[in-house]
């Protein structure tokens, strides 16, 4: 049975729509202040009329600190605004979000509010699982006034807005300047050639050939995301403009994967298995890597693991043909099948409000999606987040076609096959492109 967006009256949403836009435009007031400031007259009346029990599926706020933040600090603020609404939270991780959503859709119990990643919206919006947020007054132009264009586009499908950004995860280069300086370099690399040169100069191997320090670490990242950073840096992209064809197997894509392959097999600046995304301590923190591609939350990780490492870590854009940076993120959506759409929308509005989004970002060490938060104390105190926000214009995202979720899992084996020299980069990417094209054509 095809799940089509239910045509419903959306009674009372007009008042909330005004609230959404005004909240999104608000700056650094607290969430409760937002309510006070915006919920006058009709809005407060609308808020008091909203009631119901709604479910929230979230891959952020997981773990004890996240749960405490949401349940002890944030939701009580929401309940003050909407005393007749109850929120049942279903915590998950991004790793398990697919299963949760699939079983939810199959069983007809789709959560009222869902947080999803960049690249996820297209598929679920296309299948009619998500509510079009246009009736709430959320327009592309309106959102682009407060968010960076590409982030707004990550929440859109077929010209309509289906999601509101909350946080961004970025990937960029990070250099351990103390190690680089030891090797005679005073600046992070500004080209691929320099990247290779510095990586080779800073790689350290033991007498038996085992790697003690990687010159350039790519293994701490999901292979797909590492490849995407290099691809964007090569000036390439994943799909053509109308997302009907993959283009990552073109000259730029092959050059990016060749560089990664050469880093491992020719320049030997990192060994396969030297690091992994599951490692407790990132090799850049403990000095086991001189440079690497890293997530912006490396700053928060270093704060917890070894604060002294922070002074040595310098973020940089990986410069190939263009400066390369990747961004993913978390967006809030409403189910098209919600039995309490007003309450769900109220929660979406609350979660995307500046102070709530800021708190969620701070807890995860992520980049707030709202441009205005660049001036916040959190952003100013976190050099990586600040760097990411200042360079968002260079950041590119993954996703595009509605079948992205179906194919993204095929990227890692393809990249690994090239790194292991089981296939050439061209063969690897061609095979992957054929798979992706099949999925798009289905």
């Amino acid at each position: 049975m095809r799940v089509t967006p239910r045509i419903r009256s959306w009674t009372g949403l007009a008042a909330v729509a005004g609230l959404v836009v005004s909240v999104a435009a608000c700056s650094s007031e607290t969430a409760s202040e937002d309510t006070d400031a915006t919920a006058g007259g009709d809005s407060s009346a609308a808020a008091s009329e909203i009631s119901g029990t709604i479910s929230l599926l979230t891959p952020i706020f997981e773990g004890t600190p996240g749960q405490e933040l949401l349940e002890d600090e944030l939701l009580p603020q929401f309940y003050e605004m909407y005393p007749d609404v109850t929120v049942e939270v279903d915590y998950t991780t991004y790793g398990n979000l697919n299963e949760k959503l699939t079983t939810a859709v199959a069983s007809g119990l789709v959560p009222d509010v869902m947080m999803m990643g960049v690249g996820w919206i297209e598929g679920f919006a296309d299948k009619g699982v998500l509510a079009d947020l246009a009736p709430l007054g959320l327009t592309e132009d309106g959102l682009k006034e407060v968010y960076t264009d590409s982030i707004v586009e990550a929440g859109m499908w077929d010209g309509d807005v289906y999601a509101v950004p909350i946080m961004l995860d970025t990937r960029f280069g990070v250099a351990r300047m103390d190690i680089l300086e030891e090797a005679g370099y005073t600046e992070p690399p500004s080209s691929w050639d320099e990247l290779v040169e510095i990586a080779e100069a800073t790689t350290v191997r033991a007498d038996n050939g085992s790697l003690d320090r990687a010159g350039f670490d790519m293994m701490s990242l999901d292979p797909r995301q590492a490849f995407e950073v290099m691809l964007f840096s090569a000036g390439g992209g994943l799909f053509n403009e109308d997302v009907t064809e993959p283009v990552f197997n073109n000259e730029q894509g092959v050059a990016a994967l060749e560089l990664m392959t050469d880093m491992v097999n020719t320049y030997e600046v990192e060994d396969i298995g030297f690091a992994s995304p599951d490692d407790i301590v990132n090799p850049l923190i403990n000095g086991r890597a001189a440079m690497g591609i890293a997530h912006n939350n490396l700053w928060t990780q270093a704060l917890e693991a070894d604060e002294s490492a922070l002074e040595h870590m310098e973020p940089f854009l990986i410069e190939g043909e263009v400066p390369g940076m990747f961004f993913g993120g978390t967006l809030a959506t409403v189910s098209s099948n919600s039995s309490s759409p007003e309450a769900a929308t109220a929660l979406l509005e609350f979660l995307s409000s500046p102070d709530v989004a800021l708190a969620a970002n701070e807890q995860r060490g992520n980049v707030p999606a709202l441009t205005e938060l660049l001036e916040s104390e959190y952003v100013q105190s976190n050099r990586f987040v600040q760097f990411a926000l200042e360079n968002l214009e260079y950041a590119q995202r993954e996703g595009g076609p509605s079948t992205w979720l179906e194919v993204r899992g095929d990227f890692a084996p393809a990249v690994e096959a090239a790194l292991l020299e089981q296939k050439t980069p061209q063969e690897s990417l061609d095979d992957l492109a054929a798979l992706v094209q099949d999925a798009i054509n289905r």
Binding site: M1, T102, D271
Partner: protein
């Protein structure tokens, strides 16, 4: 009175298997008490039958049906005949997963059975702390595979893992066990074999305790060595248990999933992906429930063939 004498004569075996027609006739001729007894029997069987019907039969039928459709959770299924099966066997990753599963089964089943029988025999000798050792060997069986896999993740970790630590102690270079395609599958096989020892050992111990001790006594009088007794008495007497263990081990090995999910995610470059893992990927990563159903049917067919072969072998032995 002979111990074979009974107060009542045993019921005579039926001359031929009852058919539906004769059963109906028989029901008609039953006394009210017998009918009531029969109804009670059906009532007692009903919960189990309902359980099997709802949780096994219907899903199995649904799986077969969905395997011929393009069901994707979001939209209604369309009948596409054998397209999923054709695509399944044309998909190099799924074909690789079949070979990986066979390879994994080929090694984990005999290795874990061999170790289990040796351990069972050793723990059946009345050793000190025998109960402790039995519990220790059985512990992996009752521990969540995810927890076990986490421990093995640490053992195989290239930087601070136990295995590389031992190698380093002897001056040997370490390896990235789970990300090197040459060692990843062997690492998974080791974990699978190790985890399977407990239940097999338990079954073997139960079987060993049923072997008549007089056989060993007679062999001892004939001057048979311990090794000779093991090969000439223990192993032959364990044959029924061995076949049972063999069947459940094959089924278990073909259904391996959680340790792959935690240890390798099917990598590197699909080197350790298994049939069950591909079913999971099709269903929950690609939302292709029809395809996942077809892959499940293929897995089912493999298991059915293996079980039939094993059953036939068992029957011949019997």
């Amino acid at each position: 009175m002979s111990i074979f004498e009974r107060t009542e004569s045993p019921p005579a075996p039926p001359e031929k298997p009852p058919t539906v027609v004769t059963t109906t006739r028989k029901t008609r001729g039953l006394s009210p008490a017998e009918r009531s007894k029969r109804r009670a029997g059906w009532l007692m069987v009903a919960p189990a039958a309902l359980h099997i019907g709802i949780w096994t039969l219907i899903p199995v039928i649904a799986t077969f049906y969905l395997s011929f459709t393009d069901y994707d959770v979001f939209s209604s299924p369309n009948w596409i005949w054998f397209d999923n099966y054709v695509e399944t066997f044309q998909d190099p990753v799924f074909v690789k997963s079949i070979w990986n599963t066979i390879w994994y089964t080929f090694w984990t089943v005999p290795v874990s059975m061999a170790v289990a029988v040796v351990v069972a025999v050793a723990l059946n000798q009345g050793l000190r702390l025998q109960r402790f050792y039995r519990t220790a060997f059985f512990l992996p069986q009752v521990t969540a595979t995810v927890a076990i896999a986490m421990v093995w993740l640490w053992i195989f970790n290239p930087q601070y893992g136990l295995l590389n630590g031992i190698l380093e102690f002897f001056g040997l270079p370490g390896k990235a066990w789970l990300v090197d395609p040459d060692t990843a599958m062997w690492s998974v096989i080791i974990v699978g074999a190790w985890q399977g020892i407990g239940i097999k050992m338990l079954i073997y111990i139960a079987a060993l305790q049923n072997i008549d001790n007089s056989l060993y006594e007679a062999a001892s009088l004939d001057g048979a060595s311990a090794v000779r007794k093991f090969f000439s008495i223990t192993l032959p007497m364990l044959k029924p248990a061995t076949f049972f263990v063999f069947i459940i081990s094959i089924i278990g090995a073909f259904q391996v999933f959680d340790q792959i999910y935690v240890l390798t995610d099917g990598g590197p470059a699909n080197a350790t992906t298994m049939m069950t893992y591909e079913v999971y990927r099709s269903a929950f990563q690609e939302f292709r429930m029809g395809m996942a159903a077809a892959q499940s049917v293929v897995l089912f067919a493999f298991l059915l063939v293996m079980t039939l072969i094993s059953r036939r072998a068992t029957r011949e032995e019997d």
